[in-house]
Symmetry: D2
Subunit: 366 residues, 4 copies
C-alpha cells in the first residue's frame, strides 16, 4: 500500500515535512510507502516551484478537491487556515496532520477535536519536539519513576527575532491570522511538552505583553499594528502536585531558539535545551550533580536508525520521527499521539493564559 | 578612631561577618579600624566558645546593654529577633547592620525603616549579593545603558536541602521565627538584586507552596509542623516596563545554591549564577552570543584588593565587601545602600507575593 | 547533464554519502543532477538490500567495470581498498571522491596523488569536517586575520568505544586493512582540519600506544591481534610559527565523538567541539572572554540552504555540504579542496608521527 | 606552644600565605598557634608597610639572622632565592615551607632535597593546588580505584598576560632569577598535580618556545631580553602505563588562569579547571556522561571548616588548607606532603623537558 499525501503549505513547515517524507525510505524502511502527491497553496507560480523542489507530483490551489483525493492531508498553513480544511478532510475520511497550535481560537480547536473524535482516521497535531530523542529518553525516565514525585517544572522558549523594533511585520504579528503571538507559536510547544512529560496543568496565572505596537511592512512605507503578544509568562499547577513557571518571548536578546525544560522531583532532576538537542542533563539516584548525557547511543530512542554514537542529529530529525510515527499509525489504522485531543488540551491552556491575563487572577482548567 | 562592634548571632551569619571584619585590615587598609568588642547570644557556654573562635573580646546575653556600649550593632539573629534590638539600637544612636529579610512581617519592617529614617546613623540591610564583583559589574553595564531598554528579567534561587521529607525541622520552617520560608530566606535576595539592577517591582502575581507539612525534630521522636512556604514563584512588572519571573525553592534536586539572574534588553543581555560567582555572561553590542567574562581583572569592582586576574574569589568575599562599604559609611557618617529602606522595599514585595497568593490575583505595589 | 555516480562501500560511509546525494535536490537545487547509478561491494545479497535502501539503480561486485561506466566514483571502502580502484578510476578519466585517510601507507597515498595530478577530473578526499558551518566560519575569521598571529593550536579527537577490553575486533584494529588505528581514523581528521585552518605542520614529535593487544572475534571463541595504535599524541610546529598538541584515542571514557579544536593568536582565540557542532566559541577584539556563537544565522556558511536561525544541523549535514562542493566542481570541471593533495599532506603527517614514534625523536616534514 | 613564623617575600605569595596564617584560628581551631613574627626582604620601607598590612611583629633585611630565631621559615622569594636560605634554615633545624618551583636548576633542587633529608623538621614545597577540595576529592576517587586503570592524562595551564608583545619585562622573564618561564611557573604545578594524582612520569618528550624575545622595562625606554620559555608542551608516559600531554603558556588569549586536568581510566574519567575550582566533573560507573559535582558538601575535603553546601570557596582557600597541613606537621614533628622530595621530583621532570627540547628526542627519568 502506498499512502498519497497532500500537503497544504510550502514554506518553512512545508519544507520540514517534505524533507521528512523524503528521508523515510532510507532511514525508516518499515515506514509505509509514501507518495508526495499534491502540494496545495494559492500562488500557482510559487507553488509550482516549491512542488519541483520539494518533490511533489502535482499542485492544487483548491484544498477541497485535494482532501478527497489523498489518503493523508497535512495542514501546514497559517493558524487561521487550520480549522476548515482539517475538519473537512476528517469528515471525508482522510487522516490529518496539522501544525500547532491547533487553531487560532479555543472554539475552533474544539470543533477540530470533535471532528477528530468522530473520524476513523488518525488526526495528529505536529508537536515535533516530543520526538527529540533526548525528550523521549526524558519521558522514559519519568515514566519509570526515576525522578520521584515531581515538584518543580520550568519551561521557557526564548527567541530574539523581534528585538529590533524595526523588524518587519508578518502574519505572526496578526491576531486574526495567528490567533496569538509568542503564546501560540512558542508557548504551544512548551505547554504540550510539559503536559506530555509531567501531566495536565490544572490551574494557572498568565501574563501577556506586547512591547512594540506596530511594525513596518516590508517593501512599503506603511506600518501595521501588532495585535498579538510579544511575550507571555505563566505560573501553573500540574495534576500530581508540581508547580511550574512558563515563559516565551521573541525579544530575548542573544537567544535564537532556546527552548528549555527543567523538571525536579523528589528523586532526581533533568534539564533540556533545544539548542543542544542531542543532550539531556540528568541528576538521578547516585548523582551529586547534573550529568550531561549525549543521547545518541544505539539503544536511545530512534538512534538505531541513524549514525553511530556521538554523531549528532539536528532539528529536522524530529520531523522524520514524528512523520514516521504518524504515518505508521495511519497505515495501521491505529492511534497517534499527540492527537487533536492533545492539541486541544494545549489550546485550553493557552486560552486560560489569555483569560487569566485579562482577569488578573488565577483560573482553573476544569 | 576605632569602631566597637557588637554582634548578635554567632552561627552561620555570625561567622561570615566575623570573618569579614577580621579580613578588612589586610585587604582594605583604608577601612575604619574595628574592634570585635562583644558577641551577643543566649547560651553562655556556646557563646563563649564562639567568641573565642571568632575573635571577640567579650560576650553578653543582654543585647539591651550592648547597643549602648558599641558604635555599631550587627543583628544576625533569626528573623523574629530583627525588629526590637535593631530599633532600640537606632534609637540609642548606634549604627545597625541587619541580616535579611529585614523582619518577619511587613509591619515590623516598616517600624524598622521608620526608626532608621529618624536616626543619624546608617542602618544597613545585609543583602550581600549586591557586592559580588560580577553583580557590581553588571550594574555598571546596566547604568551605562549597555543593555538598552530592559524587557525580560528572571531570578531564581534553587537549593535542595529539604528535598528529603525526613530532613530535620529548623527555625527556618517556622512562621513565627522566620516569617516565611524560601520566600524570605532566598526570595528576599532575588527581589533585592533585581530591584537593585532593574528597578522597583510595580505589580505582581505570587504563588506559595509547602510540599512537606511536618518534619522530624532532631534527636527526638516528635515532628513539628512546617508553617512556612517551601517554594514560591511570581510574575512581576518592573518600573520601566520589564516583565519578569521569580522563583525560589529548597526542593530543587541537584541544585545547592543556584541563585541565577537573567536580564535581557533591547541592546544586550546578561546572566549570572551564584555557583559560578566569578563569572558574568554578557551579550552586548557586537556579540552574536553570550560571552563568559571572568570578573577578576584588576579594574573589576573590588578586585584590586585581592589577587591577580583569574585567581577566583569565593562566597565569603561578598561579606568583606559589604562590611567595608557599611563600616566606611558609618565612619564617614554617610549613607549606606542597601539601607533599611531597601530592606523594606524588598519586604513589601515579599508581602505582596503572599497577599497575591492568598487572593489569587495580581496586586499592585502602590 | 546528469552525473552518474558509482559508490564502493555501503555501510557507515556509504549511507552517509547516499543520504547526502539524496538530499541535494531539495536543499541545494543548483547542485548538478545526480543519478545514484550503481553500488559496489562483494556480498551480493547484502549489496542488493543496501542498494534498495540507499536508492541505487544497480549493483556490481566488480569495481573495474564500474569505474568506466560512471562519471564519478566514490571510494568508501576500508582503507586498504582506497588505492587501486581510485587510481584506476582516475586513469579512466572518472572523478574520484575517496574517504580518509587517503591510504594505508604513505607510498600508496603518493601514488594516488600522482594519479590525481595526471587526471583532468577532480579527486577529492572526504574530510567532511571542513564543511561544518562553524569550521567554515572559523576559517573566515582566520583568513580575515581576526586572531592575529597564531601561537597555540590544540586538536584532539576522543572516543571511547574500545574502553572495554572485550569489545570485539574489527578491521579498524588491523594494520593491513586500516593502515593505522586512532591515528588514521581520527587523527587524519584533526591533521587536515588544523592544516586547513592554520597551515602546514613542519616538524613534529609523535607517540603511539596500543592498550589492548588482542580482541575477541564476534561470534567465535577466537581472538585476533590488534596491530594498530589505540591512541596517538603529537607535538607539532606549524608554518607561521604556531606550536601545537594533537591527540586521538578510542579509550577516552565518557567521550563519544569529541573532536575539539582550539586556536589562540595574538588578537583572538577560538574553540570548536564536534559534539556541539552548531557552536563556535570565539574571543575576538573587544571580548573579555569566550563567546558562544550559534552558527546558524542566514548569512552563516550554507545556512541559507537550511532552516531559520537556531534550528540546528546535525553531523550528516557536513556530508551534504561536501558532496555539494565536490559534485559542483566535477560538473564545472574545476578544482576541489580538500583534494588528494590535501589527503597526501595529512598522510605525510601521519607517517611522520609513526616515524617519530619509532625513532623517539622529532622529525621534519620537508 | 606557639610557632614563630618568619616569612621571606611580601608580594603576591607573601600576601597569600599571610592571609592563610591569619585565617587559621577562626576556621581551623585545632591548628597550632602561630605568631607572624618577622617579615624578611630587602627594601626596608616597603617591607615595613607590608609587615603592617600583613600583620607581622617585626621586619628584617637579613634572612640569616631570621632562620635561627623562628620555628618555621617560609621562603616565598623569587626562584633564585629559594636554595641558599632554605638549606641554611634546614641546617639550623628550622622547618621550611618553600614556594614552587623548588629551585631554578635541578642541581640546586637536589641540594635542597639533600638538606631536607638530613633535617629533622618538615620541608614542604608549596604546591597549593593539591589542596583544592575538588582535587582532594579526585584523589580519593583515584585511590579508591574508581577510574580503573589510567590510560589518558592531560594537564594544561593557560594564561594570557604576555599576549601583548609590549607587556613589561619582569623577573619571571629572566633565566637567572626564574630558572625557566611558563615551564617552571605554571608547568611545575601541572607536573606536581599529575604526579600526585596519577603517579610518576617515567619518559617524556618536551618542547619549549619563546614567542617574544625582548620586552620593555617599565618606566624606562630600555628593553630587556626574555631568556626563558613563553610556553612549553610535553608528551609523557606515567608509571602504571598512562600516556599524557602537558602544556602551559602565557599567551593563551582569553584564558586568565585556566589550569585544567583531565584523567581517563578504564572505569571512569574526571576533569578539573582552576577557574571553576569548586567543581569536579566525573564520569563514573553508571554514568553515561560527565557529571558536574559541586565539591562543597559538608563531608567534602576541608568543607566542614567553611560554609554550608553551595557556598563556594576561592583560590586563596587552597593556601589556608596547605598552611594548616604544613603547620600541623611541624607541630606534630611529622611528615608533610608535598615535601622537598616531591618538589625535586617535579623539578626532574621540568629539567627533562628542557633536556628533551634541546636534544629533540624522548628522555627517560631513571
Amino acid at each position: 500500500m502506498t499512502l498519497d499525501v497532500g500537503v497544504l503549505g510550502y514554506r518553512f513547515m512545508g519544507k520540514a515535512h517534505a524533507n521528512a517524507l523524503a528521508r523515510l525510505p532510507m532511514f525508516f524502511p518499515d515506514a509505509p510507502d509514501i507518495e508526495r502527491s499534491v502540494l496545495v497553496g494559492r500562488d500557482e507560480s510559487a507553488l509550482s516551484d516549491a512542488a519541483d523542489q520539494l518533490g511533489f507530483d502535482a499542485i492544487s490551489t483548491d484544498w477541497e478537491e485535494v482532501i478527497d483525493e489523498v489518503d493523508v492531508f497535512y495542514n501546514l498553513g497559517p493558524n487561521h487556515v487550520h480549522p476548515e480544511p482539517s475538519i473537512a478532510a476528517l469528515e471525508a475520511g482522510t487522516a490529518v496532520f496539522c501544525e500547532k497550535p491547533l487553531a487560532p481560537t479555543l472554539d475552533e480547536a474544539e470543533a477540530m477535536a470533535d471532528a477528530a473524535r468522530d473520524a476513523d482516521v488518525p488526526a495528529g497535531c505536529a508537536f515535533n519536539y516530543r520526538f527529540v530523542p533526548a525528550i523521549q529518553y526524558a519521558n522514559e525516565l519519568l515514566e519509570a519513576g526515576e525522578l520521584g514525585e515531581i515538584r518543580h517544572v520550568r519551561g521557557r522558549y526564548l527567541q530574539d527575532w523581534l528585538v529590533d523594533a524595526d523588524a518587519p511585520w508578518s502574519w505572526r504579528n496578526d491576531e486574526e491570522m495567528a490567533g496569538s503571538g509568542a503564546l501560540g507559536d512558542l508557548g504551544a510547544h512548551t505547554v504540550d511538552l510539559l503536559q506530555f512529560l509531567v501531566g495536565d496543568i490544572t490551574r494557572l496565572s498568565g501574563h501577556l505583553r506586547t512591547f512594540v505596537d506596530e511594525r513596518p511592512v516590508e517593501g512599503s512605507d506603511e506600518t501595521r499594528p501588532v495585535t498579538v503578544d510579544d511575550a507571555y509568562s505563566a505560573q501553573a499547577e500540574f495534576e500530581g502536585g508540581a508547580m511550574g513557571t512558563l515563559e516565551a518571548t521573541r525579544y530575548a536578546t542573544g537567544h535564537k531558539n532556546d527552548h528549555t525544560i527543567e523538571i525536579e522531583g523528589s528523586d532526581g532532576g533533568l534539564r533540556f535545551s533545544l539548542e543542544r538537542l542531542n543532550e539531556l542533563e540528568v541528576c538521578l539516584e547516585g548523582n551529586r550533580g547534573y550529568e550531561t548525557v549525549l543521547v545518541t547511543d544505539e539503544d536511545d530512542p530512534y538512534l538505531d536508525h541513524w549514525w553511530p554514537p556521538g554523531h549528532v542529529l539536528g532539528w529536522e530529525h524530529t520531523f522524520v520521527h514524528e512523520n514516521y510515527e504518524f504515518l505508521s499509525a495511519v497505515e495501521a489504522g491505529g492511534e497517534y499521539e499527540p492527537s487533536f485531543e492533545a492539541g486541544l488540551s494545549a489550546q485550553r491552556v493557552l486560552a486560560a493564559i489569555e483569560d487569566s491575563d485579562e482577569r488578573g487572577e488565577w483560573v482553573d482548567l476544569e
